[in-house]
């Protein structure tokens, strides 16, 4: 299948610190790609580089074969790349439906005159937007909560709203930053269903996750970062038996001596 998202020699330094060092990888449509690594391995920085929130020091990012290095995040979203955040970042003063609608119209040009002039075409556009956001909410069983403010919702539900927001407009790649963190067992099962849904739809899903059970059972391929470097990439089975990975997670025998 075609490569949707690719990095070449992606590097990010903060002063003397190599947060991400020379990472190259490729994610295909319909592929579940997990990025794992110990705390401080550079996973979140890597995701910020992919989503345009940070600019790499060296190297490039390609989206659908087009070089997008240095492209602002909002433009990347319009090109089909969306993401969620580790701690959940919703808009507290918007309702659930409005949160998803805010994410459902990237790049569509509607002007102020349409809004103020009460033009029929604007009203129809907005109704279509609402329907699109509503579909995303229904997929995640959030429809009944559409008029609530996000602050009134339990944490697990808030995370789902964020996923709905990421899915609401034609995304081709979805980057998920630790979506299972803080979820209870039932919510985890629902999350796996959602992830499988995305995959079945042909989305490329990049997942950063600490939950090894989820990573190993669900992903097609896994890349392992340690001190900013990619130390391994392969199927979950390859990764589980890779000595370098075991060393990175458990420490080398020398270190324990």
């Amino acid at each position: 299948m075609s490569i949707v998202l690719e990095t070449k020699n992606l590097t990010k330094t903060f002063g003397g610190l190599m947060a991400v060092s020379d990472v190259s990888l490729a994610v295909r449509a319909g592929e579940a790609f997990a990025v794992i690594g110990p705390n401080g391995a550079g996973k979140s920085t890597f995701l910020n580089l992919l989503s345009g929130l940070a600019a790499p020091t060296h190297g490039d990012v390609y989206l659908n074969g087009v070089r997008v290095t240095g492209t602002p995040a909002h433009t990347l979203r319009r090109a089909g790349l969306s993401r969620t955040f580790q701690n959940g970042r919703l808009f507290a003063r918007l309702t659930v439906l409005e949160n998803v609608m805010a994410g459902a119209c990237p790049g569509e040009k509607q002007d102020l005159l349409g809004v103020l002039g009460a033009r029929g075409s604007y009203n129809r556009w907005q109704a279509a937007l609402e329907a699109r956001a509503g579909d995303a909410l229904k997929r995640l069983n959030l429809w009944d909560m559409r008029d609530k403010y996000v602050g009134e919702l339990p944490f697990g539900v808030q995370r789902n709203v964020e996923i709905a927001r990421a899915l609401a407009a034609e995304a081709k790649v979805v980057l998920l930053d630790e979506p299972a963190a803080g979820l209870n067992l039932g919510e985890r099962v629902a999350l796996v269903n959602t992830l499988n849904d995305m995959k079945a739809q042909g989305l490329a899903v990049v997942l950063i996750e600490h939950d090894m059970g989820l990573v190993m059972s669900w992903s097609d391929r896994v890349a392992v970062l340690n001190f900013g470097e990619k130390i391994a990439e392969g199927t979950p089975t390859d990764i589980r038996t890779n000595p370098k990975v075991i060393e990175a997670y458990l420490g080398s025998e020398d270190a324990h001596a």
Binding site: A73, H74, F85, R89, A92, L94, A102, L112, V115
Partner: protein, 331 residues
């Protein structure tokens, strides 16, 4: 019933209320009502920048001033007709807001707030010192009034339908904007700028839009003010005035059109209410020159400050939030 229809019913009720007020009130009370409606327009404008988009804007009076001065000077000194001067004033304020917003929105928090104060101070200084053009402290007298067409009707009475209709139109447009993708984007920007960017919102563009809309709506209020009073001077548009507008929004409830309305009306009438209280106090046997009487007569700024503090501490969503809470408790 749809939200749109409910809004129209409320607006119709407000129009009816204003009509009754116009028929029953006289003189000074009517003047206060007119000023309150002008403030409603100004504060709804401010709500775009501050309430929705989080730009701490302490320079709204400057934009009211640009509107007032451009239309006043073009009509008085160049004898332009209103159909030319009013659009020119609105366009001038939009252009000015666009130009200053580009560097301003690169700043954050307190720095941004200080920069907006700077804009206001600079324009105030220009109005006071560019005497050949602005007449300086003497202000601009003899501005044609919108009410000149009905010389038989007292100015206050004739102006109420004009400002009332404009206020209702502005309210309706503001509500429409709030529930559009642009309103959602403005609120998203204030709630979480990073998240806003990652859902595809061009944060810079939205901030410029919010700031410019604030300026233009403020200028509209200024235009109406100039052609209502017939006289303007630099002190009408001082930084203190900007702070007052921000207080109105905070007391009424930021990020809410209803809040902007409530705050503007409440704080416009408050000094008058206090003066009435002072008179009642004196007639009840209080000394005319003692602390309480003087406080009630002239201490309204102190009371504004106390009210703002109380609202910030006890009612972070202002009067509008209180109403929502009471309605929630009842149902």
């Amino acid at each position: 019933m749809s939200a749109d229809k409910r809004q129209l019913i409320w607006l119709a009720l407000a129009a009816a209320l204003l009509a009754v007020a116009g028929l029953t009130l006289e003189g000074y009370s009517l003047r206060l009502l007119n000023l309150a409606l002008l403030n409603v327009i100004t504060v709804i404008g401010l709500n775009f920048a501050y309430g929705y988009c989080g730009i701490i804007h302490l320079g709204q009076a400057a934009f009211v001033g640009i509107g007032a001065y451009v239309t006043a000077l073009t009509t008085v000194k160049l004898s332009w007709p209103l159909w030319a001067s009013v659009p020119t004033a609105l366009i001038a304020s939009a252009v000015f807001a666009l130009i200053v917003s580009v560097p301003l929105i690169r700043l954050k928090g307190h720095y941004l707030a200080l920069a907006t104060v700077g804009v206001n101070v600079i324009l105030e200084l220009v109005a006071k010192n560019w005497i050949e053009v602005t007449n300086g402290y003497n202000g601009v007298p003899g501005i044609p009034r919108l009410t000149d067409a009905w010389p038989a009707v007292p100015t206050e009475k004739a102006f109420l339908p004009i400002v009332g209709a404009m206020a209702l139109v502005v309210i309706w447009l503001a509500l429409r904007l709030r529930h559009s993708h642009l309103g959602r984007a403005m609120i998203a920007v204030r709630d979480d700028e990073t998240a806003a960017v990652t859902v595809g919102i061009d944060v810079g563009r939205i901030k410029v839009l919010a700031f410019t809309l604030s300026g233009v709506v403020g200028a509209l209020s200024g235009v109406l003010f100039a052609h209502y009073t017939g006289f303007i001077s630099p002190t009408d548009f001082a930084v203190a005035q900007s702070i007052l507008f921000l207080m109105m929004l905070v007391v009424g409830g930021e990020a809410s059109v209803l809040g902007a309305i409530l705050g503007a009306v409440a704080l416009t009438f408050l000094p008058e209410l206090m003066r009435d209280l002072a008179a009642a106090y004196v007639s009840a046997g209080g000394g005319e020159k003692d602390v309480i009487a003087r406080m009630l007569k002239d201490g309204y700024l102190v009371v504004y400050g106390l009210i703002t503090l109380a609202v910030l501490m006890a009612l972070p969503k202002g009067l509008a939030g209180l109403i929502t809470k009471l309605r929630g408790a009842r149902s």
